[in-house]
Symmetry: C2
Subunit: 515 residues, 2 copies
């Protein structure tokens, strides 16, 4: 007889921690640092606070495979009563709203806790306080895996001396620092580049690096938004209708609960879809909801979602980032207008850098970012790699081996990651399409640049040839016509330079600005 039973969510993720990126001691340490840093950034920039992050990595004095990871932030803090569940219960958190954050389900932090406790048996340490609270609270806790509830080992309360708010998390976990170090260094470096408004103090056994903030300008924080009508599903409709305080006509339901729907667009759509706009929503049957969801997906006239829930980097900052990391000779970036998939708005940004310090390779170097997080692993499974590999770069005058780098950045209220480990973005058709448009758009600018460079080189080549013959020509003419050789030579050079300048300017004028 087969035995059937249930499993707690914590038990599930304990058994399947590879899914969240905790597959070996190198990766687990990388993932632990990453989850804590991303939580710290979410607790600050998302709420309009200029981030001050401290990341500290220390090796255990007794056992060399134990690593102490501490991440401190000046964020909004976690209320006293919420700390245990936020760190000690899988599927509990504050990130289940429509807003761009680095963390997607608050699962990563718990996976780091799970990994620590199954490898070292030590509880984690959390110190936190919100602006409103008058005390600082310090917890030591772990997860009761079988029951998926937090187990509190100790709780200390201290009255606050100054108005501190923020969170400090300290985890002792099994990890291979010497092997993970290079990746973690790179991760912090790229994070500092994509968040130039953050000050990050990064202390490791090898020393301290301080990334001072380069700008005090914080991009406008994302707001909490509503679903976009294109691509909602029946479940979302059911959940929304169930949560209504009172029944209402269909048109009001659409207007109030969906992004970018007004009185007129609601009525237009409902008429098109064959619904009476005044039908009370609660009278709809499941088959009506299917028809409604399907029509909402297909309707071609919805406004594009406003990007209020999103916080893209912007083409300029992306170019700045590319220049700093890659030091190329050419760089161009684009931010696409907002689009949506499955009711979630997203914005795609892409950049191409060429030449300079980029090493020539047989296919473009790819740098991927998602919600301002650098993605370092699983490139082969990412939709960006798929697109870059499918493009015929000959069209854009790129001949391999070529010194070319493609940078992609996808912002969304829900990134379609392939796994809980947040490393590869799935090939959702809408995202794939936008990424391809963005990459091709900057690739066309690269082609312009490369063909102009070609022409410039052509002119240069001719100039060199002509210049070489000027003295001889001058000498011959001077001899035949009896004019002053030097004067003639000067004149000819003048004419040449004027022509070159004309062509040079004509060639240069619309060249996309080089780095």
């Amino acid at each position: 007889m087969e035995k059937y039973r249930g499993l707690s969510p914590a038990e599930f993720f304990h058994r399947n921690r590879e899914m969240a990126g905790f597959s070996n001691p190198v990766r687990a340490l990388y993932q632990t640092v990453r989850e804590l840093v991303e939580n710290a950034l979410d607790a600050t920039e998302t709420h309009g606070i200029l981030p001050e992050i401290r990341v500290e990595i220390k090796l255990d004095e007794e056992r060399d495979n134990l690593v102490h990871v501490t991440v401190a932030d000046n964020g909004i803090g976690i209320p006293l009563t919420e700390v245990p569940n936020v760190f000690g219960r899988v599927f509990y958190g504050s990130k289940y709203v429509i807003r761009q954050t680095r963390g997607t389900f608050g699962l990563g932090g718990k996976m780091a806790v799970l990994h620590a406790q199954i490898t070292t048996a030590r509880p984690i340490y959390v110190k936190s306080s919100t602006e409103e609270e008058s005390v600082v609270h310090e917890y030591k806790l772990y997860i009761d895996i079988g029951k998926n509830i937090p187990h509190i080992v100790s709780l200390k309360l201290r009255r606050k001396g100054r108005r501190w708010h923020g969170t400090v998390v300290s985890i002792v976990t099994e990890g291979a620092w010497s092997l993970a170090r290079r990746r973690i260094d790179e991760y912090i470096r790229r994070t500092a580049l994509i968040a130039p408004y953050a000050t990050i103090v990064y202390r490791t056994p090898e020393g301290e690096v301080v990334y001072e903030r380069a700008s005090k300008k914080l991009p406008p924080p994302p707001q909490i938004g509503k679903h976009h009508p294109r691509g909602v599903d029946i479940e979302i409709l059911k959940t929304l209708i169930r949560s209504l305080g009172e029944d209402m006509p269909l048109k009001d339901f659409l207007r109030k609960y969906f992004e970018g729907v007004g009185e007129k667009s609601a009525v237009d759509f409902l008429t098109w879809a064959g619904f009476d706009p005044s039908t009370p929503v609660r009278s709809l049957r499941i088959s009506d909801l299917e028809k409604l969801a399907s029509a909402m997906k297909k309707y071609g006239k919805w406004r594009r979602p406003r990007p209020i829930t999103l916080s893209p980097l912007g083409a300029d900052l992306l170019k700045e980032g590319a220049k700093r990391i890659l030091e190329p000779e050419f760089v161009e970036a684009v931010t696409r207008p907002p689009a949506s998939y499955g009711g979630h708005p997203f914005i795609v940004e892409a950049a191409i850098a060429y030449g300079g310090k980029i090493e020539p390779q047989n296919s473009p170097l790819l740098l991927r970012f998602a919600n301002r997080m650098p993605l370092l692993y699983d490139e082969g499974a990412d939709v960006s790699r798929k697109i870059v590999d499918s493009i015929d770069w000959n069209i854009y005058k790129v001949k391999f081996p070529a010194p070319i780098a493609v940078i992609t950045h996808v912002c969304s209220t829900k990134l379609p990651f392939k796994s809980v480990g947040k490393e590869a973005i799935a090939d959702v058709p809408e995202v794939e399409k936008e990424l391809e448009i963005a990459i091709r758009e900057v690739a066309r600018k690269l082609r312009l640049y490369l063909s102009r460079m070609e022409r410039l080189h052509e002119v240069k080549r001719k100039e060199i040839t002509i210049r070489k013959y000027i003295p001889e020509v001058s000498r011959s003419i001077a001899y035949v016509a009896g004019v002053d050789e030097k004067l003639l030579e000067r004149k000819l050079v003048e004419i040449l330079e004027k022509e070159i300048k004309k062509r040079g300017v004509a060639v240069n004028a619309p060249v996309p600005q080089a780095a």
Copy 2:
């Protein structure tokens, strides 16, 4: 103020269905078929039943993007009372034991149900009966996502006429058949090849293909096993100790609850690790458990886990499969001895095929299998790809472009998949090591074959040269020595052929048998 709340597991996976491979209508349809076929095979071969599987795909008559998928098996069936939870509750199933199965957490089936209901609003249909039951039960049900409980739409019971047992599942889901078709055809074809004891009837809008079983020999089904001591973690120890009916000395605990541990090896290990073998387990503190788990991982003298929980294909069957799919000129396979990671035993098999109908390519073609499942997606993220790409194939006399294919098969009671979609195996160090050994082992045989082929070609080349000169040489000698030219020529050819044969045999003798 941030709002915190919990999420049901069904809600979590509804929001994150890309993680389980349901990222677009093409992939979703592929994944739905795959999950149902794998459940069908698990319900049969795992229990010693020769599988008879029927897979039927029909397009909806009204809406062209709706697909009806039906999979029927002659397996053990699901008891009346278990059907609702097995299909309608995330984190519930029968697969949470130590035994090799295709399905890993029973999650895939629920994801197929979730995808169907959010795209079509139709319940799924399940008909089942176990051998013991006297009725056949037919359910229509869906998942209440917010509560993660099954919602039963209808239940019919019928008395059984004959002793039928098995399960039929029918799902109406959104999918793009025309685009998914090639992958699904390929998936079924490869499944039929790796399960030659199964009869699979595959009916699609394009017609019917019947894969008749090629053999009535079912490999010995895997048994339910115990944890292996190497690599258990503190949580596993805690769970086992908590589940004990009565307290017992440490040595008995190890002997009874771990794979391959006897009285003597338990005492040897405990003495080595600094524990008193007679300590009652319930008196151990967390810090003791940490020390114990850590020592169990490090101890070098555990027996390798017996492969009773596993059911590898075997080198012969793997070679047969490779011959049938690839029609190569050379094929060699190896099954490695069992190993373990994190307390889970695994066996790695690998094969290399060369020449014949394999197209020359710039890197080896890779065919991946895991627990007898073909893996078709996300090759770039898989540990096998990583190894194949890291090998310097020059060592093995392979010069690209070359007609070479590498086949890998990992069997385990818990495959370290990177995502719930079960497509890429994570780079767990133990698995990576075994895979590399296996691939290099068959690669060495390929080198032997290739260098012998080289020598054969050398001999052949010489033969051709010599043969060309024999008539002329014969003519000259005949003229000088006055002997019969034709006789001399025959003699010389005889000598040549004898020599060639000698060398040919010497060259051929230890060549690994060609396909």
